[in-house]
């Protein structure tokens, strides 16, 4: 535990210092002037508006997109995972095929494919719902994550001793009931660290959303660079790196602490 605390403090101080060092090395004497130029752009990068007036773009958009994808992927992933451990081969084999296909495809390609596969707007019960780039990004990211979560789900369920299944079925539970009332409650603590790692990866993956045209932090960064010139590019990207690091690193440390407590360490 103290070991993780030490890594946490080391990382939270060390990595920003390292990035600052890179910044100073690249810009030399111009460092002050560059900071003065990009400081007014910080609200833009964080929220997509110049004065924090709305929370619809920039880094906030990355967080929102990742949360929505994760919410969707947990539901679909649990369903696909149940399919993976089904007894009937008619359910198991297609599930396994879908899982492997999605897990082996690059996120960027899936995002591009969703961009063109999904219609511009759909009609449900007479309501016209327009699919904005952000919605397409959420769906595109949720697909590969679904496959990974299904795999985590299967691994967690299979880590529970088979005696639990047998004793529950001798008490008259049906298969899905055993899963819901006996196995999942025990498997959940084992799955949480893996799910958190997955969320971290998903959040890192939201940087790819830039190709769909959603107003995420990288799109904002590229717009700013287009306006302010290539001279600020390195500084802006250092700032974006720092943002991602400050969000993901605490999650990573927390995950390691949980793993330590649950007693499963990384393979």
């Amino acid at each position: 535990m103290s070991m993780q605390m030490r890594t946490f403090i080391l990382g939270m101080i060390g990595v920003p210092a390292l990035l600052a060092l890179v910044f100073l090395t690249v810009y030399g004497e111009q460092a002050g002037a560059i900071i003065a130029r990009i400081l007014p752009r910080v609200p833009m990068l964080l929220t997509g508006s110049a004065d924090f007036s709305s929370l619809e773009g920039g880094f906030v958009a990355n967080i929102l997109i990742s949360l929505w994808s994760m919410a969707i992927a947990i539901v679909t992933g649990a369903m696909l995972g149940t399919g993976l451990i089904a007894r009937s081969a008619f359910v198991r084999l297609p599930s396994s095929l879908v899982m492997n296909l999605l897990r082996n495809s690059p996120w960027l390609v899936v995002l591009f494919a969703m961009l063109y596969l999904l219609p511009f707007e759909i009609e449900i019960f007479g309501f016209t719902v327009s699919l904005s780039p952000a919605v397409k990004a959420v769906i595109g990211l949720a697909l590969p994550v679904t496959a990974n979560i299904a795999e985590i789900f299967r691994g967690g369920v299979q880590a529970i001793p088979s005696g639990q299944w047998e004793s529950a079925s001798s008490l008259g539970y049906r298969r899905l009931q055993i899963l819901r009332h006996v196995v999942i409650p025990q498997a959940l603590p084992l799955m949480v660290p893996n799910l958190m790692t997955m969320y971290s990866m998903l959040f890192i993956g939201t940087s790819l959303v830039v190709v769909t045209g959603a107003n995420d932090v990288l799109s904002v960064a590229r717009t700013i660079i287009a306006v302010d010139g290539d001279a600020v590019a390195t500084a802006i990207y250092i700032f974006v790196l720092l943002l991602f690091f400050l969000f993901c690193f605490p999650i990573a440390i927390l995950t390691r602490r949980l793993e330590h407590r649950v007693g499963t360490s990384h393979p």
């Binding site: 082996n104 591009f112 830039v210 290539d230 991602f244 690091f245």
Partner: protein, 237 residues
Amino acid sequence: MNLDFSWLADPYYQYWLLRGLGTTILMSVLGLVLMMVIGIAGALIIHLRVPVLATWTTLFVEMFRNTPPLVQLFFLYFMLSEMGLTLTDPATGQRIPIFSGFTCAVLSLGLYNGALAIEIIRSGLLAVPLQTVEGARSLGYSRVQTFRYIELPIGLRLSMPAMTNNVVSLIKTSNQAALVAVADIMYTATQIMLENFRNLEVMIFVWVVYVALSSLAVVAMRYIDRLIRIPGYGAVA
């Protein structure tokens, strides 16, 4: 929905796609080599607790693991051109940057997946039975010799399953190079889409190519795993 794949018959597109595929494979292979070099060197430094370097390596690993490879790529691309390292072409007198998009992509792939590889190899090293290490020590191997002849050979074999995932991830990440205009298969695909507007078909084609490449990598890694397995040691898969 009717899909039209007739564009695939165009020899010009075939040539483009093959060249793109070649670039993707070359980039992945170079990235893999860099990844393994960084992974082994970093694992050595952390495992032997080299005083100052170990802290730096930990910082390096945490920084690259917790930030998006795409941002790292953009960052490297702009930073290296900002630092203005250029060569003068003797034939034309033109100044060309040393670090092209391709070099940056290889560097960023090697650094990001290398940082992941350090962790993977390190946990492989930790899984080497303590008795084996102690046995080597009692036979008079020095600390570095133990690492070279006992821990690394066994540790690398133990880390093969996780390394397979990392290799697949490297191949899948390599398509981000298209966003800094490296002419890999992803970039070629976007060019073709601009010409024939068959967006969905082209993307499905690229999807299939990448799934095939990753599956090929998995099969190759399994083969290597079987090839280097120490008879009678470790789990039999």
